[in-house]
Amino acid sequence: MAGESGSALSDPPGPGWFARAGDSDTFASFKASKVAVAAAAVTALLFLLALLAPLLSPQDPFDPAQLELINSRLPPIWTLGASWPFLHATADGQWPFLLGTDDQGRDILSAILYGLRVSILVGFLGVLFSATLGILAGLIAGYVGGAVDAAIMRVADVQLTFPAILIALLIDGVVKSVMGSRITTTAILAVLIASIGLSFWVQYARTVRGSVMVEKNKDYVQAARLIGLSSPVIMVRHVLPNVIGPVFAIATINFALAIITEATLSFLGSGMPDTQPSLGTLIRIGNRYLFSGEWWIVAFPGATLVLLVLAVNLLGDWLRDALNPRLQ
């Protein structure tokens, strides 16, 4: 019966892809899930804040010239007895430090906005790198099969026995000891992205490999073989578009994981330096002052991180369920 009603439901050709997407079952289930809508809204807001950080933040926290040590460790503005909406400029025409400042006199709000940028950038590029690596490995393992498949998947098994953070620390340590003091911020960024990519590719590879093994035996692939197309061409043109769906769900959830991993690495001191802090770096800095009563240095970046990761995770969970035909 599912088949009958299913075929009856499939859409007649619509006017354009946008209208079709707006009418699709996935979009309907999205609208029906309040959690998904809320998560998407929060994610979108945080992305927008990160994107517009230079316009929104009162201070450039990466520019040492704007920092005054005299402003260090100021508490949030409302604890100083200021009244709503806290936005009256101080005497010398500066914006007030809404969420307080850290030990170097950095405005916490600005640091969070810029830190959000770094975290999201690392998360995004890390996911991009790990997904590319994993999809490639999964495609080759699934399509070629045999010894190649066995080799790739054994490497993946070994990889899984190490915690992601350990691999990241390992790569970080190796690069730092090789480059020593010549290391630049860009290099650190690259190391973070590489270590995250190398820790998370296995899940993509396994998922893609499973789908490829199903798809490669379908007759449309056989039809492509019949006209003499080479294996790489068939993999990219025919198989890849049909196995990419589940990857998006994994990528969303892994995006949250990547941000956490970056934060963890930065917290442990092998991530972004104090001069260009990510959320993790800010938390590490704040952690030092937690017991001396300056709670705001750690609390606000921490809350932002929790909010971002939670929103992205909920979105990923919903996407995974929506794309899983067995749950429909």
């Binding site: 019966m1 599912a2 088949g3 009958e4 009603s5 075929s7 009856a8 439901l9 079952d25």
Partner: protein, 337 residues
């Protein structure tokens, strides 16, 4: 007249979806007498499997029975509470599905499954039930049942499993057996064996059978009467030889002409243009009218009811057709007069 074992009156099943309410069954009516085999045929999307599911109250959500009634030996069963209906299904209606593995639990020996079903629905003791199970296995053609009764389902071949399922369906001595594509998954030579077993057993036990299938060959060999379905409606009912050899409804005529047979020498098969409408786009009036070579004005507006032909065909008891061509009040010549 004796009470029919199964009587279905104006049964309507709807699927409520986000976009629309789809009518999968539209006022379906038929009866099955004691010991009779009624074939329900139709192409995919005709609603034949939904009919089987609706009779036993197993329509999956978002589907629901929206009207009509189902009577088992005169007693209404479509409005029973779920728990009572479940008991009716086990005891008074036996079920055989296309895939025998959906009816057999892979973790239990087939003997235990048979004995459990028998003791649940009859007063027999466990040892008497086991004797009964052995007798049934012999009846369905499993040789040396003493050796095989303690085997697991995976130790049987596909044909043997379907025999076990038949035994399981019959072990509580039901009044009605619903067989949904029982031979479709089997090879031709095995298919013949299963048809023979099913037919013989139901005759011997006086069980009525509702045989749902798309295979006219199987219907021709097994059924006494046949109901042809199209787009959720029964469009013709009659004795199997009548319907196969002299179909009345233009769709049934097209369907019979489209089936190649072993005696075939025709250059071309008759074929019906187009395909079955989707549930979301069933045309008004007669659902077959866009594909029908005889369609005329009333066909696009007035729904034809299933009733005995009053024109063009001899009135044979039990023969009904839903087509204006056979309705003295609506046929083209009536309009001309």
């Amino acid at each position: 007249m004796t009470t029919p074992v199964l009587s279905v009156q104006d049964l309507t099943v709807e699927f409520v979806t986000r976009r629309a309410t789809l009518r999968a069954l539209d006022r379906v009516s038929f009866e099955i007498g004691p010991g009779e085999v009624l074939g329900v045929v139709g192409e995919s999307g005709a609603g034949k499997s939904v009919t089987g599911a609706a009779v036993i109250g197993l329509v999956d959500p978002p589907g629901r029975i929206a009207g009509g009634e189902v009577r088992l030996s005169g007693e209404r069963i479509d409005n029973l509470p779920a728990e009572q209906l479940r008991r009716v299904r086990g005891k008074r209606i036996g079920m055989i599905f296309q895939d025998p593995l959906t009816s057999l639990n892979p973790l239990f020996r087939i003997g235990d499954q048979l004995v459990e079903t028998i003791t649940t629905h009859t007063d027999l003791s466990a040892s008497a039930a086991r004797q009964r199970a052995l007798a049934l296995l012999t009846e369905v053609g499993i040789s040396a049942p003493e050796r095989r009764i303690d085997s697991y389902p995976h130790q049987f071949s596909g044909g043997m499993r379907q025999r076990v399922v038949i035994a399981l369906a019959l072990c509580a001595e039901p009044e009605l057996v619903i067989a949904d594509e029982p031979t479709t998954a089997l090879d031709v030579s095995v298919q013949a064996q299963i048809i023979t077993v099913l037919k013989r057993l139901c005759r011997d036990h006086g069980t009525a059978v509702m045989l749902v299938t798309h295979d006219m060959g199987v219907i021709g060999e097994t059924a006494d009467r046949v109901a042809v379905m199209y787009a959720g409606r029964v469009i013709e009912v009659g004795a199997v030889t009548d319907v196969v050899r002299h179909p009345l409804h233009p769709y049934a005529q097209g369907l019979m002409g489209a089936i190649p047979t072993l005696a075939d020498t025709a250059e071309r098969l008759a074929s019906i243009p187009g395909s079955m409408p989707r549930l979301s786009a069933i045309p008004p009036g007669c659902p077959f009218n866009p594909r029908c070579p005889y369609a005329y004005a009333p066909c696009t507006t007035i729904r034809p009811e299933l009733k005995p032909p009053g024109l063009r065909a001899p009135a044979v008891p039990g023969r009904k057709v839903a087509c204006h061509l056979y309705d003295p009040a609506l046929a083209p010549e009536a309009a001309a007069a």
